[in-house]
C-alpha cells in the first residue's frame, strides 16, 4: 500500500475537503487564540504556524500520519547511523558531525565521534596557523586571502554562513579576506585573480570525490596562475598554496596536495549536509574556531530537540508536516523563503539545494514510481527586496504559494537607535506582508468598494520563524531545523533524501559533447544540439585572430 492510500492520508483528504473552503480570515475570527495554539519554541527558534491554513484537527491528523509512517523510529535510525541512504547503502550522519566529543557513536564497530573530532582539531590547527599569520606563501608572506573553490554543498553552506555571521569575526587575529569561487566557466576566478596578491593567497579545494570537474577546472587555473607568477615548480606551489578538503585522500594527493595539508570527511556526509564538517573551514576562518564550535552546538541543540521532543511540539516535524499538508492536500507547489535580514541573503540559495536536491524525487524507497507530489519549487530572496520584485505574484497572481518569513527579534542592540529603527522597519514589513498574505484586504474597512485590480484575496499560508538574535548558535539551530524538516518529509513520502542520481547523467552527456565543439563535422543526436554546436563553431571560425 502506498502512503497516499493509507488510512491517515485518506483521513487528511477528507478533512482537507472541509478546510479548503475556509479562508484564513475566518479561521482567525473563529479562534482568537490561534497564535498561542500554533506557535512553538525550541533551541533558539520560534515558529509561528498560525498563519497556516490549519486547525487543531489538521495538526492531529498530520501527527497521525507521521506516526503511521513510524517517524519516531526513522528519526532514531537517522541518528544511530542506520543505512538511511538505501540507493548508496550508507548512513547519513550529519548529526554526528555536531555531537559533542564526549558522546561516542559506534557505526559498524568504529567510534566515528573520535574521527570527527580529530578531523575538526586538525582543521582548527590550520585555522590558527592562518589566523596567527604563520601559514606562509611562496615568498614567505603570511596569508591574506583565502579562496574557497567548491561547488554545490562545498560552496553554498560555507558561503551562506560566512556571509550570515561575518560580524562574528574574532578580534586580535590576522584579518583574512575570504572569497568563494564555484562557477565552472571561470567567471568568479578570473575576476578575482586580477586583484589578489598571489604570494599571500591560499586556495581551499573542496570536493568530496576530488573529481568534480567544476572545482578541478578552477583549481588548475589557480595553480597555473601561481606557477606562472612565482616561477616556482608546481610541486612547491601545490604544497604551500593549497588545502584539500575531501573524502578521497589519494585523489587529492595525486593532484599534488600532501597529506598534512588535507582535511578529511567521510562518504556518509552528504555534500549538502556537510558544512558542519571540515568543509566548513572557510566558516571557521571567518568566525574563528570558537564560534564555529558554537555553530555546531546550536545545531546540536536542534538535533536534541528533534530527537527527543514529542511529535506534536517538535519544530522540524511540525514544519515538515504542515508542508505536506500544503503540498499534498491544499495543492500548493511553490515555496518562497523570505529572510528579513540582509545577512541571510544566501539562505534561499542554500535551501534550494537542501530541499530540492534532497526531495526532488519521484521514486519510492522500494523503487516504485510514486503518484503524489513531493518537493515543491522553492526559491527566495531577502524579503524587503523581494517586495519590489515578486511579491506582486504572491498577492495577486494565480499561483498559491506558501512562504517562510525568517527574522531575528533583536538586532543592532549595541549599535545605536538609527540602525535599531531600521531593523524595526524591516520587522514591521515582515509582519505586514505575512498579515496581508493571510488575511487579504479584509484588514481594511472598506476593501469591498475597491476596483478589482486593487483587491487582495489573501489566504496565502505562511510560517514565521524568529530567533532571539542572529548568532552562530541560533544560525546553526535554524539550518539544522530545515535539514530535519527535509528528512521528515522524505519519511512521509517514502523517498530517499540523501542521493541525487538526477544530477549524474548531465555530467556524462556533457563529457561526450565536449569533443564535438572541436570536431569538423558535428554529430549530435538531435537537431537542436547539433544546430547550436554548429552555431558556436561557425562564430569561432569567423572570429579567429
Amino acid at each position: 500500500m502506498t502512503v497516499d492510500n493509507s488510512p491517515a492520508w485518506l483521513a487528511l483528504n477528507t478533512h482537507a475537503n472541509k478546510v479548503r473552503e475556509k479562508h484564513l480570515t475566518e479561521m482567525f475570527a473563529d479562534d482568537p487564540a490561534r497564535y498561542e495554539k500554533f506557535s512553538f519554541r525550541a533551541a533558539h527558534c520560534l515558529t509561528d504556524f498560525s498563519k497556516q491554513r490549519i486547525t487543531a484537527t489538521t495538526l492531529q491528523l498530520l501527527i497521525d500520519l507521521a506516526e503511521q509512517q513510524k517517524l519516531s523510529q526513522r528519526i532514531e535510525a537517522l541518528f544511530t547511523g542506520e543505512k538511511v541512504n538505501l540507493s548508496e547503502s550508507r548512513p547519513a550522519l550529519h548529526t554526528a558531525l555536531r555531537q559533542p566529543a564526549d558522546q561516542p557513536l559506534l557505526v559498524e564497530g568504529i567510534d566515528i565521534s573520535q574521527e570527527i573530532h580529530a578531523s575538526l582539531e586538525k582543521m582548527e590547527t590550520l585555522v590558527d596557523q592562518i589566523h596567527n599569520g604563520q601559514w606562509r606563501g611562496y615568498d614567505g608572506s603570511p596569508i591574506k586571502s583565502v579562496v574557497n573553490i567548491g561547488v554545490g554543498g562545498s560552496d553554498l553552506g560555507p558561503l551562506m554562513t560566512c556571509r550570515a555571521l561575518s560580524m562574528f569575526a574574532p578580534e586580535h587575529i590576522r584579518d583574512i579576506d575570504i572569497h568563494f569561487v564555484s562557477s565552472m566557466d571561470g567567471s568568479h576566478l578570473s575576476g578575482l585573480l586580477t586583484h589578489i596578491d598571489p604570494a599571500s593567497t591560499l586556495f581551499i579545494v573542496s570536493s568530496k570525490s576530488f573529481t568534480t570537474i567544476d572545482t578541478l577546472a578552477n583549481a588548475n587555473t589557480a595553480r597555473e596562475w601561481l606557477v606562472e607568477i612565482s616561477g616556482l615548480p608546481v610541486e612547491l606551489i601545490s604544497q604551500h598554496h593549497f588545502i584539500a578538503i575531501t573524502a578521497s585522500p589519494e585523489k587529492a594527493a595525486d593532484w599534488g596536495i600532501p597529506e598534512k595539508n588535507q582535511l578529511h570527511f567521510w562518504d556518509w556526509t552528504g555534500g549538502r549536509y556537510s558544512m558542519w564538517s571540515v568543509i566548513g573551514m572557510a566558516i571557521a576562518l571567518q568566525i574563528g574556531n570558537k564560534n564555529f564550535r558554537q555553530l555546531l552546538s546550536g545545531a546540536h541543540q536542534m538535533d536534541t530537540h528533534f530527537r527527543s521532543a514529542p511529535l506534536h511540539e517538535n519544530l522540524p516535524v511540525l514544519m515538515a508536516m504542515i508542508g505536506i499538508w500544503n503540498i499534498n492536500f491544499l495543492d500548493i507547489h511553490a515555496h518562497a523563503v523570505l529572510p528579513y535580514d540582509g545577512r541571510l541573503e544566501h539562505v534561499p540559495a542554500y535551501l534550494e539545494q537542501l530541499e530540492m536536491e534532497s526531495n526532488g524525487k519521484s521514486v519510492t524507497l522500494k523503487g516504485e514510481k510514486l503518484n503524489y507530489a513531493t518537493c515543491p519549487i522553492l526559491w527566495g530572496e531577502v524579503g524587503p527586496n523581494a517586495q519590489h520584485a515578486f511579491y506582486q505574484l504572491l498577492h495577486q497572481g494565480t499561483e498559491s504559494v506558501m512562504c517562510d518569513f525568517i527574522a531575528p527579534a533583536l538586532r543592532y542592540q549595541d549599535q545605536g537607535e538609527d540602525l535599531q529603527a531600521q531593523h524595526q522597519l524591516a520587522l514591521a514589513n515582515c509582519l505586514a506582508q505575512s498579515r496581508l498574505l493571510a488575511l487579504g484586504d479584509s484588514v481594511l474597512d472598506d476593501a469591498d468598494n475597491a476596483p478589482a485590480h486593487k483587491r487582495y484575496r489573501g489566504n496565502q499560508p505562511s510560517t514565521t520563524i524568529m530567533f532571539d538574535s542572529l548568532s552562530p548558535a541560533s544560525f546553526g539551530a535554524l539550518i539544522a531545523m530545515y535539514e530535519h524538516k527535509v528528512y521528515v518529509q522524505s519519511v512521509i513520502w517514502e523517498i530517499n533524501p540523501f542521493d541525487q542520481w538526477g544530477v549524474e547523467l548531465g555530467k556524462q552527456v556533457a563529457t561526450s559533447l565536449l569533443d564535438q565543439f572541436t570536431q569538423q563535422a558535428s554529430s549530435a543526436t538531435d537537431s537542436s544540439t547539433e544546430g547550436l554546436i554548429r552555431y558556436v563553431q561557425q562564430l569561432r571560425r569567423e572570429n579567429q585572430p
Binding site: Q134, D139, G140, S141, L232, L236
Partner: protein, 421 residues
Amino acid sequence: MKIKVYGVGLTAWVAAACLARAGNDVLIEGPDSQLEKPLEEISALRDEPGLLDQIELQLRAGRLQRTRDKEAYAEVHWLALEHNEFESARKIIRALGKANPDNLLIVNQCNFGVGATDQLQDELNQDTNQIIVYIPNNLQEGKALEGFSQAKRIIIGSDSNWAITMTRSLFRPFIQNIEHLQLMTSREAEFTKFAITGMLAIRLGYINELANLADQMDVDIDTIREGMGADPRIGRHYLAPGCGFGGQNFNQYIARFSEIFENKGKDSLLKTVISENEIQKELLFKKLWQHYRCNLTGKAIAIWGASFKPGTASIDNAPSLKLIDALLAQGVEVRVHDPEALGNLKKHYRDAPLLSFCDNPYDAVQDTDALLLVTEWPEYWSPDYLKLLEDMHTPLIIDGRNIFDREALELYGFTYMGVGR
C-alpha cells in the same frame, strides 16, 4: 624647586633623574605596586643606559624620593602618565586644583592627543594662575638622559605669560646649548610633536620601500641614499633602511597620530607606514624562506641582536620578536645573542623549547644554517669571519641593518644578503 612627577614609564624617570640632578627636590609618585618594586626590576630603568645609576645616585643624595603620599606638597607637578591614562590625569588635576587655589604649574608630557591639555586646563582656573603647559618630550630611547638634559630644541605649549616664565626658569639648567626654543599654544605643541614623529616614521617607511625595490632592480640602496642625503632639502638623517623599526615611545606616538587621522575619516600615509613596517619586520624571514625554497624543516638559525635598537635592552615592538615567532612556527631551532636584551627576551618567551639564549655571539652561530643580523650593536660590526665560517653549518648571512661589506664577505666565502643591496 619642589617638583612632583607622576608616572612609571621612561618619560617620568628621565624627568625625575634630570630634575633632581639639577638641584630640585623631586618626588616621584606611582601606584603602590610600582613603589614597592626594587629599582632594578623596573624595565624602564634597566633598559635605558645610565638611567638606573642616575636614579640611585639622586635617591642617595636625597634630592629624589619615591612617595605614595598623594597630598605631598610641590610647586610644580609633572605629568608623565601612559597614553591611556587620561582619566587618571583628569582626577589628579582636579585634586590639585582644589588643593592649590592659585599659582599652580603643571607640566604635561603625556601622549594624550591633540587638545588634551586644553581639556585638562578646563578643570582649572586660569585667572588664578592654575596653568597646565604642554612640553613635548624629546625622548630618544637609548639617549634619553642626554635628550632631556642637553636639549637642542624645546617647545613650550602655553599662552599664559606666568606659566611660560615659570617653565623657562624650570628648564634653564637644560637649555644652555639650545638651538631652537619656540612658544605656541598647547594644542599646536601637541600637534607638532605628532607631526615630527610622523615625519620620521614616514622617512623610514620610504627608505625601506626604496630598499625593497632596489632588491628587485639590481641597484645598491647605499649608493642611492648617499645621493639622496647629499641634497640639502633631504639630508642624511633617518635614511638607513633596515628590517623595521620598533620601540615603545615612537610607536605609541605614530599609532596615536594615525588614529587621529582615522577619527577624521582619513586614510593616512602614516597608517600605511605602520602596516608596512610590520611587514618589514618579517623581511629577514622572507629572505631566508626563499633561500631555502620554502622549507626550513630541521634548520637552526642564529639571531644577533634582539633589542629594538642598539643601546637599549628594550624589546618593545622589536623586529626580533616577529622573526623569532615566524621561525618557531616553522619548527626552526633559534639561537639568539644580544648584549643587553636577553633577560627581557627570556621573560617574553618563557616556554619555547626550540629557542636558546646565548651569552656569546659565537655560541649562537654554532652549526646554524644562517645568521640573521637584526640589531646593529657595535660589537657585531667586525666579527671574526674565519670563526664564523668554521662554526656555521652553512655560511649564510642575512644582514638586516646593512652593516657588513658584501664584497668582503663574499671573498671569505659567505653567501650575503642585505636590505636593498
